[in-house]
Subunit: 459 residues, 2 copies
Amino acid sequence: MTLPTELLSTLETLLDSRLSLAAADRDHHAASESFHRAPPPDAVVWPETAEEVAAIVRACADAGVPVIPWGTGTSLEGHALATQGGVTVDLSRMDKLIGVRAEDMQASVQPGMTREALNTELRATGLFFPVDPGANASLGGMAATRCSGTTAVRYGTMRDNVLALEVVLADGRIIRTGTRAAKSSSGYDLTGLFVGSEGTLGIITELTLRLHGQPEEVAAAVCAFDTLEQAVECVTATIQSGIPMARIEFVDEVAARAFRQYSGLDLPGTPHLMVEFHGSPGTVREDTGRFGDIARDCGAKGFDWATTPEDRNRLWRMRHGAYHACLTLRPGSTGVVTDVCVPMSHLPAAVAAAAADIREAGLIGPIVGHVGDGNFHSQILVEPGNEAEIAAAKHIATRMAERALEVGGTITGEHGIGIGKRSLMAAEHGEGWQVMGVIKQTLDPGNILNPGKLVPDRA
Amino acid sequence: MTLPTELLSTLETLLDSRLSLAAADRDHHAASESFHRAPPPDAVVWPETAEEVAAIVRACADAGVPVIPWGTGTSLEGHALATQGGVTVDLSRMDKLIGVRAEDMQASVQPGMTREALNTELRATGLFFPVDPGANASLGGMAATRCSGTTAVRYGTMRDNVLALEVVLADGRIIRTGTRAAKSSSGYDLTGLFVGSEGTLGIITELTLRLHGQPEEVAAAVCAFDTLEQAVECVTATIQSGIPMARIEFVDEVAARAFRQYSGLDLPGTPHLMVEFHGSPGTVREDTGRFGDIARDCGAKGFDWATTPEDRNRLWRMRHGAYHACLTLRPGSTGVVTDVCVPMSHLPAAVAAAAADIREAGLIGPIVGHVGDGNFHSQILVEPGNEAEIAAAKHIATRMAERALEVGGTITGEHGIGIGKRSLMAAEHGEGWQVMGVIKQTLDPGNILNPGKLVPDRA
């Protein structure tokens, strides 16, 4: 696609040097942390205000040119790739903290602010923003993907922690959804509609986020089990007992070996749980004691408690460094990352079936998971450029998704649809996917907002 | 409106005696627990399956006749009134528990099942459904209104506790939204779109609900404060400290007098908080201790702890009986019930301003609230049929809503829009209200699903 001269001149007048057609800038916005690939966008723009975003969208709408919002580029399903060309709207200059209302436990931020930057700003307030997908993603991107991560079992996902949005629609209108109240029954949940819409219904230009109190006391532990079933039984019993886990992460024997190799930690090559507790000193003592009893009943051994911040950081650095740790199991490889979520009772069978598929394909694929939610990932290690291996890994990923659907689960717990999972949408949603398409068509009749993602192709 | 003969004959063939044109049945479905009034529907039907609901909707769509879903009729904003005539779909025969999956902490129910019936069925499982609006409403109606109640501060609202739905659309298609997984990033959140849509986008025919573990230990207390500000300061400090309150309810001095008069309880005529804690014996001991310290720091006196089930039931029966208790302050009166929700920091001023307006109007209007969420209600006592008083009460309600909007709050925390709050929607949502209208028009082009509610009138 070559961009129309009139559009380029409008954008140039509006943005001056914040419009780029340079190959380096365009290529940077064609990068993807996963195996998804697409040509670069035709242009990149760096707006600084919602009004500029609206003017960009209006100009692109007039020209019928795609608009692709860009946060930090850490999405895993090709969400921010310009698969149909067009203008990538890089929101990294809209990275300001607009305000913290500590008494209301809320913050308003621009979409390009990252979660780590927000938490750094919040340090002195006694509050924090808990959603933690691992990557230091932008908060706008996290909302657009409806992401979650290790702490969702306690604090919820982006669905639960976004109170209100400012959004630029496909015709350039700027709307506000939601309020600063903790709850509302006031009409359709437009905030909830835009959270998870992956830039296909509008571009988020401001978020009002729910904050939480920094816990007075934090304790973390890692413990080993002989079998997957024991570890999952422990998770189920813990959740049912109502112990408010802050994190409860599964690490399979393959991933445990990678962690040991990478970090030098003394982990046996068996399934593990990594857990964290937040509360007052008294409740954390009580919760850790109760969890310890349940875990031992389920066959846990070798508890390693981390109560100092240094020990805890070491533990969670290891978990968040899983991707790179696991790559060392096959030097030179890259990972095809899967992401399904199933009802808890189906978790042991789903994990076991995935592991068996990976073994049968002769591949290495460590499995980790946010098991308190029934969400797990395999990182199937493939040789870059080896199309046969990538196809085999994708086939395993598809089988995992199909099996998740068979037991009432979902094809993606937290990574979203993008281009990677569109082919599975009809299987999960049936006619509901058509309803999504109709909503998209109504709110974006010209199909300019991140086209080719999430919804069905138009007839 | 007289129903077309062809429609009547289709419905009769389909439903036989489960179609009624009798005045008694129609009048029963014109009743409302609030001051909203409308003529009865032209017919009432009692379907027993989703397929029957779909057939009813298809027949009404063909005839261009409104379809109004009906749960238990406990809505407060006229949601289920047939303001434009048509067929009321009474879902009370679809009241079955479809299944409990205890290991997954989920239940599937038909929409006509009430929350009390569900909790009775769940008694032996160790699980319960926590959303508690006071009334024994149907679960389908609760979802359609996105209601909440006293326990939302701990367990969330219907938004947080509905995992999946089966919905009949305006053209009779039956779709399923959501999954049985605890979370998902799979496309637009259609479940969230239908929750709170008040029957205007589809008729809910099945719900998958999130259950929670029955707490091992429960403790409740009521404590008095000298001033509103002290009570709210106590709430703010408690929430910020991270103490996981199960309920934290405000009762103003007028309501406290009504409770004393009605139940014979020894409550001083000052503001009170009623609180409840859920957990293990150890964590409840810790939490109640910490709350007690905070409350005393804020000036609380006269703690009355209720640890036996009998004492607790007496306490919450009093709170849930607030409506009838408050009516005794003015024998023969009826209540105009308000429902706003504001950011916590604005709660003292919002409550004080409402109380002042009520006093200035020469009316009696006790105030109670789910203050952990910033949500409060006044029940303004008016003489039935006294239009001047009703107008004055409505004016106060409108002022409360306007003031809530001025501080970033919402016009309804949990009662919904229906016909009662439509005139305030533009003020809360601006262009967003038009977006709601466009979504409604797309999914219900014939405007047959609960027309005249929630969204703007069509051009």
